[in-house]
């Protein structure tokens, strides 16, 4: 088991390395750097001014060297600005080059500086991830129990009327992406046209204070899309278990249906959905971006959009590291959890 986890962690590191390199190359293509120079300097720069701005700010070196700087294996660039003050990748404003550390990158725990927010990346990512964490927490709190209940009720008696109607509901929710359900929910529950106005159509105030009124719609929007899929998987798993031999035995013994479902079937039926729920996290990431944009909740997804649309290289790199780690870590947890939940695999 230990070796398995070690190998998976190794693959994870390699994947993260490859992905950040791809992101780095894509964000550092010449047209992107030119756009960055123009947004940071001014829009009417000439080509020579762009080149000199890039050289002054450390973007002039070869791409591999700068990727090494970001990783922290190559010493950071240093130089002087127009007024003769020392500047550099690792140099704080007003600091002399000699006092600054030579290397500062991912390995040293320094994620760099965001050009959009003019703040340290680690501070931004930490704060925004916290906000998204709350959103995710409530989504899971709503989505998982609802999906499991629907799935178990539907799979309990396969082909019954309850099964048909609940399955249709879950197909409908899987066919409704966040930007559709969000729009419909806002139109029904928050617009002045329908006039219900139960909830708020924006979650901006939820960043400081989460209330039922401002957080229901974003949470429901995300939970609905993910719910259908988990419910269908639970239904399939439950239906399979209900056809198993030991359930027939339990029935023939004359046990009441209620206790067959609760005591015999449920535990075995919930193994497969566990994997699905864990693998749902990467999906939620895209959902987070859409929902946070739609409801103006400035969490991680919103930051990713800001970083990407302004070509904020270091923020974007950190965002992709976080995203990749989340994806791979959930895969790892789901694999390990599956082994622990299912004795047949543990022994084999």
């Amino acid at each position: 088991m230990g070796l398995f986890i070690l190998r998976r962690l190794g693959v994870m590191a390699l994947t993260a390395f490859c992905l950040t390199f791809v992101v780095f190359v894509l964000t550092n293509l010449a047209p992107n750097l030119e756009k960055l120079a123009k947004t940071q300097g001014n829009m009417r720069m000439t080509d020579e001014q762009v080149v000199s701005w890039l050289n002054e700010n450390g973007y002039g070196q070869p791409m591999m060297v700068r990727y090494g700087e970001w990783l922290g294996v190559v010493p950071g660039w240093t130089g002087e600005d127009g007024q003769g003050r020392d500047i550099g990748r690792c140099v704080e404003p007003g600091q002399a080059v000699e006092d600054a550390p030579r290397r500062c990158g991912l390995l040293q725990g320094d994620l760099g500086y965001s050009t959009v927010f003019r703040e340290d990346v680690s501070a931004i990512v930490g704060y925004r991830l916290g906000l998204t964490g709350w959103l995710m927490f409530y989504v899971m709190l709503v989505m998982v129990p609802m999906a499991l209940i629907i799935g178990v009720l539907a799979g309990m008696r396969e082909g019954s009327r309850t099964d048909r109607s609940l399955s249709t509901v879950s197909i409908v929710t899987t066919a409704t992406p966040e930007y559709v359900s969000g729009v419909i929910l806002i139109a029904v529950f928050a617009s002045s046209v329908v006039g219900l106005k139960w909830f708020k159509g924006t979650a901006a105030s939820a960043m400081n204070d989460i209330t039922f009124e401002n957080f229901t719609l974003p949470v429901m929007t995300m939970a609905l899309y993910g719910m259908g899929y988990i419910a269908r998987m639970t239904r399939a798993s439950m239906a399979e278990v209900m056809n198993a031999q030991y359930i027939r035995t339990a029935r023939l013994k004359g046990l009441p249906f209620r206790s067959i479902v609760l005591k015999h079937a449920l535990r075995n039926a919930l193994i497969a959905p566990f994997t699905v729920i864990m693998l749902q996290f990467p999906w939620l990431l895209t959902g987070v971006v859409i929902v946070e944009t739609l409801f103006n909740y400035k969490g991680f997804g919103w930051t990713l959009v800001q970083a990407a649309s302004n070509n904020d290289i270091e923020l974007l790199l950190s965002c992709s590291v976080v995203a990749v780690v989340v994806v791979l870590l959930t895969q790892l947890i789901s694999d390990i959890g599956y082994v622990y939940l299912n004795p047949r695999i543990r022994i084999a």
């Binding site: 066919a175 990713l304 959009v305 990749v324």
Partner: protein, 386 residues
């Protein structure tokens, strides 16, 4: 003139869709008539869910085909005074076109109904084709990876997992920007991705007609001529006849969607091949002395078609959702474009005051994806019955 009531709006819309209803009734009636001869598709007529799904999909397909007959106004035309007007509002006097905005006007005073109908064409122009390409790429790589295994398989699986670990939205934000289009990367990706269908077809014919050189030469020659002609036109916009072309905007959207979808298809195909290659008929073919490519493409692949057809339907729906996501973030397509994602994006700004411009495309997108999901469900059920 008085604004139309809701009943009148629905009736008018029903009338506008007349060509679709006719085509729908004819198709379903013909399918019912020849049900016995149509195989899996014919069996679909007997399953309730599958039939509803098929109906929804065909509805949007015919809407896309007959969009020119259905629309009441030019989807890009602005008529002053109609900004954010409610559904059923009559046009100001002096306009001799259709007298009402059936579903109201958007915030640029364009007709919401016509834009929704034209949006179907935009979506159905890209989604099925992109899914097909993703399948061809996934199949041409997944079948040999599963069959041969070894280093080839390990490397390809690692790359597939790499792409899958990438958050889709981040990939889109990195790939679908004007700067990337400038750098020529989409053309390079298209050059690689669009090569797969041609290679696939050539290997397919080569394996089938290995013993008949003349037939083989005819098939491969035809494939190469047509394939390379399309290839030049689509990937490099250099069609010598000037018929086939793709604007850089559409190309980058198309390429990214294919790129995102093909690793999943690769994994599914690989899994299926690993399963099927242990069957007896594969051993029989090996004993007969068939070549590996013949076994892969003419023994294994046809037997994997059931799950692949079901996944194809689901995946068109997923691609539609992806295209909508792109439009929602305003990536790739031109801002004027009436595709559903962009229209929803435009409508969401004033959502709490004027929800009517955003709702029709949202419901349209949902019903198309729902139709595809139901169709896939019906197909799965019917194919499991034998």
């Amino acid at each position: 003139m008085e604004p139309l009531s809701w009943g009148a709006i629905v009736a008018q819309m029903f009338l506008q869709f007349t060509p679709v209803w006719i085509a729908l009734v004819v198709t379903i009636a013909l399918s019912m008539l020849f049900q016995k001869k149509l195989g899996l598709y014919g069996k679909l007529m007997g399953s309730g869910i599958g039939l509803i799904g098929l109906g929804l999909v065909l509805f949007w397909l015919f809407t896309a085909l007959f969009a020119n007959l259905i629309i009441t106004h030019d989807p890009l035309a602005v008529i002053s005074g109609m900004k954010n007007k409610l559904p059923g509002t009559p046009l100001p006097d002096g306009n001799d076109v259709y007298a009402y905005y059936l579903l109201g006007g958007d915030n640029l005073a364009r007709d919401v109904f016509s834009r929704m109908v034209m949006g179907a064409r935009e979506v159905l122009k890209i989604a099925p084709a992109a899914t097909l390409f993703a399948f061809l790429v996934g199949i041409s790589l997944g079948v040999p990876a599963g069959y041969f295994g070894g280093t080839f398989d390990t490397v390809l699986s690692f790359i597939a997992n790499l792409v899958l670990a990438f958050p889709v939205i981040l990939l889109f934000y990195l790939l679908v920007t004007p700067e990337i289009v400038q750098s020529g990367l989409p053309t390079a990706m298209a050059a690689v991705l669009f090569l797969f269908p041609i290679i696939f077809m050539c290997i397919l014919w080569n394996a089938r007609y290995l013993a008949q050189p003349t037939t083989r030469a005819i098939y491969i020659g035809t494939t190469l001529v047509i394939g390379l002609w399309l290839y030049l036109g689509l990937a490099f916009n250099a069609d010598p006849l000037g018929i086939i072309s793709m604007t850089p905007n559409v190309l980058i959207v198309f390429v990214s969607v294919v790129f995102v979808n093909s690793p999943t298809v690769f994994r599914i195909v690989r899994g299926l091949v690993l399963d099927i290659q242990t069957r007896d008929y594969v051993s029989a073919a090996k004993t007969r002395g068939e070549g590996p490519w013949y076994i892969m493409l003419w023994e294994i692949l046809p037997n994997a078609r059931g799950p692949l057809i079901v996944d194809f339907c689901l995946r068109i729906g997923y691609t539609t959702i992806l295209l909508g996501t792109l439009g929602f973030f305003g990536l790739g397509v031109s801002p004027e474009s009436p595709d559903w994602g962009s229209t929803i994006n435009e409508g969401r700004r004033l959502l709490s005051i004027y929800p009517h411009p955003a709702l029709p495309p949202a419901i349209a997108l949902m019903s198309l994806v729902l139709g595809l999901n139901l169709l896939a469900d019906g197909l799965r059920e019917e194919s499991l019955k034998d």
